[in-house]
């Protein structure tokens, strides 16, 4: 029984002049024929399956369609073609520091974030001390969030997010948070979660990291699936050779 089944997924991405414009501007541009919307395939015909406990590394250069694919897997976007089948709960730890409210206190933000990640109030009540302890923010818990440094913010975000016990975990370049000491701690925590049996998808530009952690590799290039398989060394080697070209 596969945990995640991505079947022929293609995503048509829109970009162009429609962002940040007003109705008046829209009408004027339409009349002048200057309204351009470019559609392109961010991902084209991607297929792979993951079993329980798999650790997939997605590699590829910028603009390869990695983040878009993750958004589809986590359900934020719908695939234009193809299907994504998921078994069980899914949690995405994408760019951690966003989505907090500067006016609220650290404690209130922690609860809000927990709620966003789908935790229950009871769970937050039980683990709040643990979260604040791990983030080393005990002295700041009643301060407005905007007074925190950016490092502190991501520390809090990581501490909350790292409590997830999902069936599928998505990591988009989040393994390195904060200063040296915290980074060690967060990496250890991350490995602990992965070791807990969750199926994990990791997007990273560090081939080193991918090599050491992943059991399967998906290589994307300009939206196309170049390779997928469990030959980690082989694919990483060919990718490294490709990068040097």
């Amino acid at each position: 029984m596969s945990v995640l089944e991505v079947q022929g997924v293609s995503i048509l991405y829109m970009t162009g002049d429609f962002k940040d414009i007003g109705l008046k501007e829209y009408v004027v541009r339409r009349l002048k024929g200057q309204y351009h919307v470019t559609e392109f395939w961010a991902d084209r015909d991607i297929s792979f399956t993951l079993e329980k406990g798999d650790m997939l590394g997605i590699i590829g250069t910028n603009g390869a369609g990695k983040s878009t694919l993750l958004k589809v897997i986590s359900g934020i976007m719908e695939p234009t073609e193809g299907t994504v089948k998921r078994e069980g709960s899914i949690a995405a730890l994408l760019e951690l520091a966003g989505g907090f409210d500067g006016e609220l206190t650290v404690r209130e933000n922690a609860y809000l974030r927990g709620a966003m990640l789908g935790y229950t109030r009871k769970f937050m009540d039980d683990t709040y001390e643990q979260i604040i302890g791990f983030a080393e923010l005990k002295d700041f818990e009643d301060r407005p969030f905007k007074q925190l440094s950016s490092g502190m913010k991501s520390r809090l975000a990581f501490s909350i997010a790292s409590l997830v016990q999902p069936d599928i975990l998505i990591l988009d370049e989040v393994l390195s948070v904060g200063d040296g000491a915290f980074r060690m701690k967060s990496e250890a925590k991350m490995r602990e979660i992965i070791g807990g049996g969750a199926t994990t998808i990791l997007v990273s530009h560090s081939l080193e990291q991918v090599r050491s952690m992943c059991s399967k590799i998906l290589w994307l290039h300009k939206g196309r699936q170049v390779e997928f398989g469990d030959d980690v060394e082989g694919i990483c080697g060919r990718y490294a050779a490709f990068l040097e070209k």
Partner: protein
């Protein structure tokens, strides 16, 4: 559906709390300020318009208050609901949460505000020697309709605001015009029958009229009047839900 609500209840509560706290910035006076604003509008209108429109309208203060009460709820709820989606773009672009929660949370806030203003309204009614009848219970109907109507308009506006950023200005102009067309401070009896019927096309006027019928005339509007209100609500709410459903995963491109 029930499971979905249960699942998101915690998030919804936290969103409501957040909106409440950021709005009033933890000041005790905060809530007071937002109550003061409709009262000041009432005061100014009372002073300015009594000379022109108030001579032939009995209980003119209550007459005005009915209009202001409904209209300020409508305009506050829709204008604040409009920004609810955009201002939470950072959240829904990263986490898969039901997007209507942001609007609902804003609406809870404006509903509380409306509730408080309503209490003051009843105090004013008593001061204006209005007789309270059992028919006042029927006011729940226009309140419920208005609430759903505001949510519907909020859904449409918040979606439009994602697509076109000048909707905010257009809407404020529109609300201004609608205010004058809602017979808040004047009486429509002087107009011809055709014009009076045109007023019925304005949903906000319907809500105001319902309030006045109950409070000032102690009469219950006709069944058709009830149905007309319900139709307005259904149209707007349906349109809003349709847009949200259609663009649910496409809002992302616009932020």
């Amino acid at each position: 559906m029930l499971q979905k609500i249960k699942k998101n209840q915690f998030l919804f509560e936290e969103l409501v709390k957040r909106d409440f706290k950021t709005k009033y910035k933890r000041t005790i006076l905060g809530v007071g300020w937002s109550l003061l604003s409709p009262l000041l509008t009432l005061l100014v209108m009372r002073l300015v318009f009594t000379q022109f429109f108030g001579q032939n309208t009995p209980h003119y203060t209550t007459y005005l208050f009915c209009g202001n009460l409904v209209f300020s709820y409508f305009s506050e709820s829709t204008s604040q609901g409009m920004t609810s989606l955009i201002s939470n773009a950072g959240i829904f672009a990263k986490v898969n949460v039901p997007k209507y929660l942001f609007l609902f949370s804003k609406n809870v806030q404006t509903l509380i505000n409306f509730g408080l203003t309503l209490c003051i309204f009843f105090v004013f009614c008593a001061l204006d020697h209005i007789t309270f009848t059992w028919k006042f219970i029927l006011l729940l109907y226009p309140i419920l309709c208005l609430m759903l109507f505001n949510i519907g308009v909020g859904l449409v506006l918040s979606a439009l605001f994602v697509f076109f950023r000048d909707v905010q200005y257009l809407w404020s102009v529109f609300t201004q015009l609608l205010m004058y067309a809602s017979a808040i401070f004047y009486n429509i009896d002087g107009y011809s029958y055709t014009v009076q019927c045109l007023f019925l096309c304005n949903p906000v006027y319907l809500f105001i009229r319902y309030f006045r019928k109950i409070v000032l005339d102690a009469t219950i509007p006709t069944v058709w009047f009830h149905l007309l209100m319900l139709a307005d609500v259904a149209i707007v709410l349906g349109l809003g839900c349709w847009i949200y459903k259609k663009y649910n995963t496409r809002f992302l491109y616009y932020v």
